[in-house]
Amino acid sequence: MVFPMFDANDLAVFPVDVWIADGVQWLALNLRPLFLAIKWPIENLLTFNDHVLHAVPFPVFLILAFLIAYRLASLGIALFTTIAFVIIASLGVWDESMTTLSLISTAIVISTAIGLPIGVWCALNDSVWQVVRPVLDIMQTTPTFVYLVPVVMLFGVGTVPGEVAVVIAAAPPLIRFTNLGIRMVETEMVEAGLAFGADRRQLLWEIQFPLAIPTILGGLNQTVLTAMVMSVVVAMIGAEGLGLVVLQGLGRLDVGRAAVGGIAIILLAMILDRITQKLAQPATSKAKRSLWAAVCAALIGFRSKPATGPA
């Protein structure tokens, strides 16, 4: 007599796929007002950013990009930024790049608006962190494609649902780094605040938050890069931008088109990374570059070095 061997597939008795499909459908039907409410600010901000970025004349954009990069980072990075944007334009994907940039800039604004308060709350309250932490773990370990399924079910397809996916992917690093930054503030600093009679609010705004800013800016760098990656991936659910260029290139087996999209993506990512990374570096020279100094530097032909503070 042959005893039937116990097989792994015999255990497949739970119709989890059905449950989830039903659950998501239920959510989409019954919580529709909620998702519309979430979508509304994202849609408006995205449309606004998109209009602005497309409306700015190319030369003006270059000058602004140079000044911003110079103010936030350094002269070298400002030059790199300008040249990289010229290359992107010469590749013929300027409009798509601006769409991607609007996706990213919107994601930065919304991630900051959501991420900072949640991060601060997590740092000040252990039980909140105990709840938020596994959620962040799930969000960050989930492959980016997997996000797209519930997003399409709940928000539909197109650029705005794509933006929702970008925000969901981009916010967790900022929450994590904000929490970490505040918790890492030296005990002696916190004690100094308490010893001079700081209450909880003063302690947060005078000591903990300012001292956590370098770490938080490190988180912002991560957020920007994640948003960059995600803004390309969401082309799969119909979002426009550089991702769509690559996707079209793939679909038509047009290697050249796909490569152009890829190069533009890399340049944009490098610009954003260099600028935000410089932000996160601990400021050894506190001398803030004024916009006026930046204009001067641009006019004189980048010869003068920015004034540094007293050693």
Partner: protein, 401 residues
């Protein structure tokens, strides 16, 4: 002596449920055994202290002795497990958060070992931090901070950032921040321990200078016995969370009381701790010559030497052995005494007395009113510095406070 701060039977046990550890401690069980039985770390074990107003009270101990825990209990950065902390007679242990904030803003301030200056704020913004917490308007607190910074010698550095300053200067900012709030009780937690030796010595002198004019009550935590002796008006030595010896620096050096303390006192430069009054020899009056009173060394009569005093007890001349023999022969004192003699105040440190000492001559020791109190000789100072602690205490009867 008005008392500013009194600590009564203070306990600190680091544990979520300290009750069992507390009952063990009160039954006299040691720190180690409490740890093995309850896994609770004992920070303070029945500490009682009295800090007089205007004192520089040193709390000295090695790592893990509980000295920093004690300092942090005083402004309740650490919550005491049991006991009382009386600031001007008012117990601050049961205070509510709002009252505690007021105490921290107005009565107690603190200087930290690693300065704890905010790197994103300028020197003057750091110095005014305490006032800002209290809600003092910008102009007023800025003015006050600038005043204090110029007192500690940093008037020109207001607009700079802490990272532009050296260690000693940073701690001056820390000190200025603590002084700016006008708190009368200053907790200095190993304030100079992170500085290199020369700067540390300079800062100690600076603190002594400031203390002469400010007259704050200072609780100073240190692991350096030399520092405790140099700065302190009183010293409490801690071990395993308990005070093992308490007293004036002189009393502790003269009589350590136990082996643990004598390990520290052995290295101390006794000439910098003791004053002329501890070594001076008493003199006896042996007669009068007109208006002038003659006093002579009362003990150790190897040589007959003494001084001539006027009617109010002021020293007018030195009488050596030759002079005494002529006096015995009936000569008048006026012509015999030497008017070149060295006079030291009774609170002069021995090292300074030695510097003033003339060749082979005894020095006259006088009190604050310039009246003669005793006679001091170089050989006695040498013998005193070289002697072992126990013999000093018994030979000269230094009061064991």
């Amino acid at each position: 002596m008005n008392e500013r701060l009194r600590i009564e039977n203070l306990y600190k046990v680091f544990s979520d449920r300290p009750e069992k550890a507390m009952s063990l401690l009160k039954a006299g069980v040691g720190k180690e055994q409490v740890l093995t039985e309850t896994r609770a770390v004992v920070g303070l074990n029945d500490v009682s202290l009295t800090v007089p107003g205007g004192a520089m009270y040193m709390i000295m101990g090695l790592s893990g002795s509980g000295k920093s825990t004690l300092a942090r209990c005083i402004n309740r950065l650490n919550e005491p497990t049991a006991g009382k902390i009386l600031l001007d007679g008012r117990d601050i242990v049961p205070l509510k958060p709002a009252e505690l904030l007021e105490i921290r803003r107005r009565r107690i301030s603190m200087v930290f070992q690693h300065f704890a200056l905010l790197p994103n704020k300028t020197v003057v913004e750091n110095a005014e931090f305490g006032l800002k917490m209290r809600g003092v308007p910008l102009q007023q607190r800025r003015k006050r901070a600038e005043e204090i910074l110029s007192i500690v010698g940093l008037g020109k550095w207001c607009k700079h950032y802490p990272h532009e300053l050296s260690g000693g200067m940073r701690q001056r900012v820390g000190l200025a921040r603590a002084l700016a709030t006008d708190a009368d009780l200053l907790i200095m937690d190993e304030a100079f321990s992170a500085l290199d030796p020369l700067i540390r010595s300079e800062m100690q002198d600076e603190l002594l200078r400031l203390q002469r004019t400010l007259n704050k009550t200072i609780v100073f935590i240190t692991h350096d016995f030399q520092e405790a002796v140099k700065l302190g008006t009183r010293i409490a030595i801690m071990k395993d969370g308990a005070v093992v010896r308490e007293g004036t620096p002189q009393a502790i050096v003269a009589d350590p009381g136990n082996d643990y303390v004598s390990a520290f006192t052995r290295e101390v430069d006794r000439s910098r701790v003791f004053e002329a009054s501890a070594v001076m020899q008493p003199c006896e009056a042996i007669g009068k010559s007109g208006e002038i009173q003659i006093v002579r060394q009362a003990t150790g009569k190897i040589k007959r030497i003494g001084f001539a005093l006027d009617s109010s007890g002021r020293v007018v001349g030195l009488l050596d052995e030759v002079a005494f023999s002529k006096l015995d022969a009936g000569s008048a004192c006026e012509g015999l005494m030497s008017r070149e003699f060295v006079k030291v105040r009774e609170n002069t440190k021995l090292i300074d007395a030695v510097r003033m000492n003339g060749p082979q001559q005894p020095m006259a020791v006088v009190d604050a009113d310039d009246r003669f109190v005793g006679l001091l000789q170089a050989e006695h100072i040498l013998a005193f510095i070289a002697s072992s602690p126990s013999t000093v205490a018994s030979a000269h009867g230094v009061p064991n406070v």
